[in-house]
């Protein structure tokens, strides 16, 4: 046998060893893994790192957290590459459930979006509500002497994320056609995560929509110097939910692991437990001087006002946190969820 033929056989064997070795290791030697697909706005605050540490110290599971945008997270789940998703876009979550990919939705936390901008506020949006603010920004943009597109005053995520869908719905609420607005010369789209978008907005001294958590972290660490100008508006509510991926979807097969439904549900139960909810609510309070997140479970259970109503109005599906047809066992999670929300 010629030398090169021998070498090719060695090469193929080595490849097989790499692949088989990985499979064997994952199956028999490594801990069980739980794939969590989530959004950058949640991940970039560091909240999930804290949750991961806490969860792994008490559970024998290896959390694998992949952060992309909400849209990508959902795509991962559909492909079978994730066991549970943590996202914040009602419309996308609804479709996800309706298309039969997910079950057992639980609302975990909420905070508010904020419209941030340069300290001197050239568009004059301080103190207004979201709709008024957007109108002022449009007016400011259209009045700019430079209409060539070199000057940008609004930066969008543009990446199919929860934040992006929120932005789109705000424009719609303010009476604008989103397609037309996004084509304005002063409108910029980064197509990246929250952190990157904040950096761009800061560089250009422009306005943008951000979740409070990421903004506070970046502001505190003096990465950016933009100010939160609007944050008291109910239309800026941002609700995070967790949905488990349905285990019997066809794409979800691999030779060594199925969708890890059990661990996914364990994780969701952990997220809604009082201790975790406390962790979430307290996260970052000392460091940033204000809370980044609010745990939603108690709020909904005790019907604390006005937040409970806001959440129900904004983030419930047909009056349910999780409509019964999308539940799979685990009824104890939905004792209060009767469709009257």
């Amino acid at each position: 046998m010629q030398l090169w033929e021998k070498l090719i056989i060695v090469a193929i064997l080595a490849t097989i060893v790499v692949v088989a070795g990985t499979i064997v290791y994952l199956n028999y030697f490594a801990k069980r893994r739980l794939f969590i697909s989530t959004t950058t706005s949640l991940y970039d605050t560091g909240l999930l790192d804290m949750i991961e540490k806490d969860y792994e110290s008490t559970h024998n599971v290896d959390l694998q957290i992949v952060a992309a945008g909400t849209g990508i997270a959902i795509q991962h789940a559909k492909n079978g590459d994730a066991d549970v998703i943590l996202v914040h876009s009602l419309s996308m979550e609804k479709t996800f459930l309706e298309e039969g990919y997910g079950v057992n939705r639980k609302i975990i936390a909420y905070n508010f979006f904020t419209i941030i901008g340069p300290e001197n506020d050239p568009a004059g949006i301080l103190g207004k509500n979201a709709t008024e603010a957007l109108k002022s920004i449009v007016a400011y943009g259209d009045r700019l002497p430079d209409q060539s597109g070199a000057t940008k005053i609004w930066i969008s995520r543009g990446d199919n994320s929860g934040t992006h869908s929120k932005e789109q719905s705000l424009w719609k609420e303010a009476g604008y056609n989103y397609t037309l607005i996004s084509q304005k010369p002063w409108y910029a789209s980064t197509g990246s995560g929250m952190g990157d978008t904040l950096n761009v907005a800061d560089q250009k001294s422009a306005y943008t929509l951000s979740d409070m958590g990421t903004y506070l972290k970046f502001y505190k660490d003096r990465i950016i110097s933009l100010k939160a100008l609007i944050s008291e508006d109910t239309s800026l509510l941002n609700v995070y939910s967790a949905i488990a991926v349905k285990p019997d979807v066809p794409a979800n097969k691999s030779i060594h692991e199925q969708i890890n439904f059990k661990d996914a549900m364990d994780f969701i139960q952990y997220l809604v437990s009082p201790e975790t909810q406390q962790l979430i609510t307290n996260y970052g309070k000392d460091v940033y001087g204000q809370r980044l997140f609010f745990g939603a479970v108690e709020t909904l259970k005790n019907n604390e006002q006005p937040e409970a109503n806001w959440i129900k109005a904004y983030a419930f599906i047909n009056g349910y946190e999780c409509p019964p047809q999308y539940r799979s066992n685990y009824d104890e999670l939905y004792t209060g969820d009767t469709g009257n929300g």
Partner: protein, 248 residues
């Protein structure tokens, strides 16, 4: 006024670099875990690429067959493939809904190793083929007339091309350790298991953890410079031993 701003900015950068150096020196486990994974994955990828590429390079340089020029051109073109494109293709293949999804390799180190190996194999083949072709063809006859078999002859040729062969390996490793697109897309940049120097830098920058990002950047540059220094040094050593009349 703007001069002061420049000074302030430079102070900021210096501060950042100092903090980064502190992190490096402190032996921070997160940092070194990332470094270890980068070296391990890229090293394995270079090894795999060598295994895959050497027989192909030998075929292309020593044997004549129809379509040889086309295949050579094919590999040469692949060298320039944008890593994100390759990453996307591999992602689609390894995803559970893809053809190799049943192996469950997405987001595992194996995916990064295989992906980077695919990325650097064309480079390895290209350099190695040139190196072997540069060898005096009479070496083949020489080996044969001294009694070598086909395999022994091929090994003799490879030995003559050793400089080029080593260069091909180093070039592969360099490309593998410095790339982002493939590792990010098929590895998922999962903290603690598939994050490597390049993908971690990207995450920490996006998050605003610039100290960590700069620290990782410095480590990456040290590795790349370090490797190139080693290459130059070994070359110089060979030259020295050739030039000097070494003791009998």
């Amino acid at each position: 006024m703007s001069f002061t701003l420049v000074i302030l900015a430079m102070v900021d950068i210096l501060e950042g670099i100092i903090k980064a150096l502190q992190l490096i020196v402190s032996g921070d486990p997160t940092l070194y875990g990332i470094l270890y994974r980068s070296l391990l994955f890229s090293g394995s990828a270079a090894v795999l690429a060598t295994l895959w590429g050497t027989p192909i390079a030998m075929l292309l340089s020593l044997k004549d067959f129809r379509g040889k020029t086309i295949i050579k051109g094919f590999f040469n073109t692949l060298i320039g493939i944008p890593t994100v494109v390759l990453g996307l293709v591999l992602f689609l293949i390894f995803s559970k809904s893809g053809p190799l999804g049943f192996l469950g390799l997405l987001y595992t180190p194996a995916a990064i190793i295989l992906g980077e190996a695919v990325l650097v194999t064309p480079i390895l083949i290209s350099i190695m083929t040139s190196a072997i072709e540069a060898v005096d063809p009479e070496i083949v006859n020489l080996a044969k007339t001294l009694g070598a078999s086909e395999s022994q002859t091929a090994i003799a040729v490879l030995k003559e091309a050793l400089n080029g062969v080593l260069l091909s390996n180093i070039a592969s490793f360099n490309r593998a350790i410095a790339e982002l697109g493939v590792a990010l897309l098929v590895g998922g940049n999962i903290a603690g298991s598939t994050d490597i120097l390049t993908t971690a830098i990207s995450r920490y920058t996006a998050r605003g953890d610039l100290d960590l990002a700069v620290a990782l950047g410095i480590l990456l540059m040290i590795i790349i410079f370090g490797i190139n220094m080693i290459v130059i040094a070994t070359r110089k050593l060979r030259w020295l031993s050739i030039l000097g009349k070494s003791p009998q």
